[in-house]
Amino acid sequence: MHRLYLVPTLLINVVIIFIPAMLTIALAFCRWDGIGVPTYVGLANFRALATDRVFWMALGNNVIWTAIFLTIPIAMGLLAATMMLVARRGSAFFQVVYFLPVVIATAITARVWQGMIYSPLTGVAGLITRAGFPVPNPLTLPSTALYGIAAVDLWHWWGFLCVIFFAALRQVPQEQIEAARIEGASFWQMLRYVLIPGIRPTITLMMIMTIIWSFLVFDFVYILTQGGPAFSSEVLSTLAYRSAFYDLAVGKAAAVAVVISLFGLATTAVYIRLQAKELDQ
């Protein structure tokens, strides 16, 4: 009878996620405008992507994004979490403040940065420019747009990692820390030889999740630049979204979605294997 308990969750999941996902895979081999009857075109969508400059730019941007988020926020989170462990007093307060950006809606975070920081008219960048130190709006330059967006997501995101690492660090056996302390370990030695090895599973998992999430990034890019200027900040998810809903090239959008998923799939395989180990315990 306990089988029935699973029915609501699985039914909703299959109808909303599984069946449409299968349809997307099928649509990747079709041409479809979202209204008429899809026509089978074989690998044409993928061939078109292979020669599409925007597609490769988007893919490249996702790779850059992954590289940024695998390093900067993880290093920041790790460092801040360790410092919170050193400081002890006040760590609860720091933790809450660092986590604040995580609970603010992405649309709002994006607009605050856009209008109050980057804008040459109403933002801090404009104020600094008027004071005689020209600061261009990073979102309007092809060479910096992606990094301008990444900075916003970084601000929004790093606190989450910090809090997770802090929680993990507090599980590191007290004796190991004590032993290193008696040996006279410095801050960096403590971090390098005791703390990081102590929370390695958490770091690994966060890195895997970072790779998966980096290929899904959508909100900040869509709101801040819509992938522009001149596709310089386009990522795969915004490319797919625009193809489907603005150009009504649903087949192409589906093909892009399949590519995103393939990147996710490889990482997911690793992720699930890690989870399997935990479940077996």
């Binding site: 605050v112 997770i164 909100d219």
Partner: protein, 277 residues
């Protein structure tokens, strides 16, 4: 206990933590500060203290973003999603935690796999399918999508709460003649209710803040969520940043108040669900 002896390390640590604190609070301070200012003063200096307090920024934001309607939509959407996720999720989490069925492993892996599926992998057929069925602009239909997306997270988190309940409790209830359903609803659910509350808070936060699905599936002006109507207000209808920041504050303030009041639940839930689940 202190981690390192050196006093310099100690001072440097607080200095660095303080700098990170300022970086975190700076944009939030800008949001609050400028929500009170007239547009003309923001153009002069976004950092300055308000010369006059423009409280009418809030009333204009409330009217222009139609928060009377859109906040209600957001609240309804969040409430529906919470009820759906908690009810269906707790059933599933219980079965998976207690390994009540042989295929518990496959189901767990399937749910884990869907948490990593990109939304774009199912968004397009879902949208055109819903359009055909007349489910666009339907808040209940959107809450079903949220339920599908968020319930794996909820199941994994609730699973850990069910795992913490001693098996003997269940066995005792069964010996006393309780049916399996009574064991679940009368014995287990009350014990894991703190977990359900945590899940409810986080799912509520996620659906309140969600953008991509909401902007795609709820397009009619009287069906928009608060976040989407804020997005449209700031993008098209006004360039008065005082008003835009006031609108932002109206959406963010209840979230921040709730978060600060119940921080431990939020943090443990969000961290726990993604670390363990």
């Amino acid at each position: 206990m202190r981690l390192v002896e050196s006093r310099t390390t100690f001072v440097l640590t607080y200095a660095a933590l303080g700098i990170l604190l300022l970086i975190t609070l700076f944009p939030i301070a800008l949001l609050v500060l400028n929500s009170l200012k007239p547009a003309t003063q923001i153009v002069q200096n976004p950092l300055a203290w308000p010369e006059i307090y423009r409280w009418d920024n809030f009333t204009r934001a409330w009217n222009d973003a139609r928060f009377g309607t859109t906040m209600l939509n957001s609240a309804l959407l969040a409430a529906l999603t919470i009820v759906l996720v908690c009810s269906t999720g707790s059933l599933t989490a219980y079965v998976l935690a207690r390994r009540k069925i042989k295929s518990w492993k496959i189901v767990t892996f399937y749910l884990l796999a869907t948490t990593t599926a990109p939304i774009q992998l199912f968004l397009f057929p879902l949208y055109f399918g819903f359009a055909k069925l007349g489910l666009i602009n339907n808040v209940f239909a959107v809450s079903l999508i949220y339920t599908a997306i968020y319930s794996p997270f909820a199941v994994m988190l609730l699973r850990t709460y069910f795992l913490a309940v001693p098996k003997e409790l269940e066995e005792a209830a069964l010996i006393d003649g309780a049916t399996p359903w009574q064991v679940f609803s009368k014995v287990m659910l009350p014990i894991v209710s703190p977990g359900i509350l945590t899940v409810a808070l986080i799912i509520g936060l996620y659906s309140w803040n969600e953008f991509l699905i909401a902007t795609t599936f709820l397009q009619r002006t009287d069906r928009l969520t608060a976040v989407v109507s804020f997005f449209l207000l700031s993008g098209q209808y006004t360039s008065d940043w005082g008003e835009i920041m006031a609108a932002a504050l109206i959406i963010v303030l209840p979230v921040i108040v709730l978060f600060v009041a119940l921080q431990r639940r939020f943090i443990e839930g969000m961290a726990g669900g993604s670390v363990k689940g």
